[in-house]
Amino acid sequence: MKRWLRFIGLPLVAWASGGASLPTLVPDVSQREVEIQYSFKGAELLLFGAIVYPDGVVPKKAPDIVVVLKGPEQATVMREKQKIAGIWVNAETMRFQSTPSFYAIASSRSLDHLTDARTAAIYELGINNIQLSPASFDNLEQIPRFERGLIDLQTRRGLFVEKQGTVEITGGVLYRARLPLSARAIVGNYTAETFLIQDGRVVAAAIRDIVVRKSGFERFMAFAAQQYSFFYGMAAIFVAVAMGWIAGTIGRRV
């Protein structure tokens, strides 16, 4: 029975990829909101969903899935230390207009096998394809060095993550992927993008929003420090004086 299905499936794929009707994606994520709590060591997000084929028939050569989780864009300054007069100081700098504060990608197969370099660059598939947008092109020869440094730094901090071949596809229809969200990740609006890739082409894409925020005490503290700086400072002084005074009082009695 199955073999027979596959047999008629083949021309279907050919027809489908011809452009008339393509498979679509129904994606979802395990959490729409991630809250950073007092013992936040990072979270793991489960991104899952279904591939809906035009006629409900799974093609013989199952398509591939790539999921990308992206954090808010940031304007950044990258500084490079050099040894000057015997000490290491920040010497060269480069500005980047918008770099993702967080980027994690998972794919069902090695990314090199999925698409050609051009497609990967267009859809920013893979850590080395992230658009870093340098603010100036005055020092062209420096850009690659700084980009490599930035990618390396962010990867080691767990802010740029690449997990190739970790997306599971069940029965050619259901997919799921786990992506780690670093504790260093900043708060803000994140996006989870899912790409369906067939024969080296992106045939369907879907996007879901995820909000990362600090909850409870941490959120309150960060908020107070930003919005009510004066009271925050006064509170810090009060706490410090109170703790010192209490310890002194106890110390004199013991």
Partner: protein, 304 residues
Amino acid sequence: MDLYLPIANLSVNIFVIVGLGGLVGLLSGMFGVGGGFLTTPLLIFYGIPPTVAAASAATQVTGASVSGVIDHLSRDTVDVRMGAVLVGGGVVGAVFGAGIFSLLQAAGQMDTVIAILYVVLLGSIGLLMAYESVHSIVAMRTGQRPPARKRRHHPLVAALPFRWRFYKSGLYISPLAPFLLGIATGVLTMLLGVGGGFIMVPAMLYLLGMTTQVVVGTSLFQILFVTMASTLVHSLTTKAVDLVLAMLLLLGSVTGAQIGTRLSRKIRPEYLRIGLAFVVLVVAIRMALGLGWRPDEIYTLDVR
């Protein structure tokens, strides 16, 4: 056990931070210093961003000096008038320091300047202290009494206009001298998160020529209020005071300080001074090596 620091934006091990505070407190209790000069570098070695380290260390010094100030006030060993002038200068210095801070941050040279200042200040003060305490130990061993130093303020101080009487310090000098000294330490408090006692005490003795009995109390008095001012200025400008971090440090340091104070009564002051000189020199050398060694990270990323 890990705890997330809301301002530093990273997780730290509670026991490491409380232990670090305890160690600093122990030393500060033993040697009668605020301990900020140890807290900031140790926090930076642990991976806390330098700005947050300096801002939160100042808050910790406030807590660490409270009980000392109360002690000295009750024993009447604080020249409040001198202290007030120093604090006035310190507040001006803290505001001035905030300006320097933001300039350095924009230029990306904050860490280097912090490190160089530590190496220069701690290195020279440490060497001076070591030299002096070795001398006094040798004199003590051989039974000689060192000749009493004539208490005198620096000729530059005498050249300043207007004169005030500072009865407890036994001085009739221009308030501008302590005011300028206050400004200098206020800047250091802002940049390095130190109380500045290690500079203030020698300066009071050798530059101003204050009576020895009120030097430590008055220095603590100025440290208490200037670190308060610096905490507030940091909260308003850099917004880098991490209250959770400061509380963990305080928990350790106020406890350590009580133990340290007890220990210090059992050890001769000459040996205490050489011990402090040793600690100060070790931190200075570690900082100097950090400047010369190839750093782990060549690149740093700042959000604009």
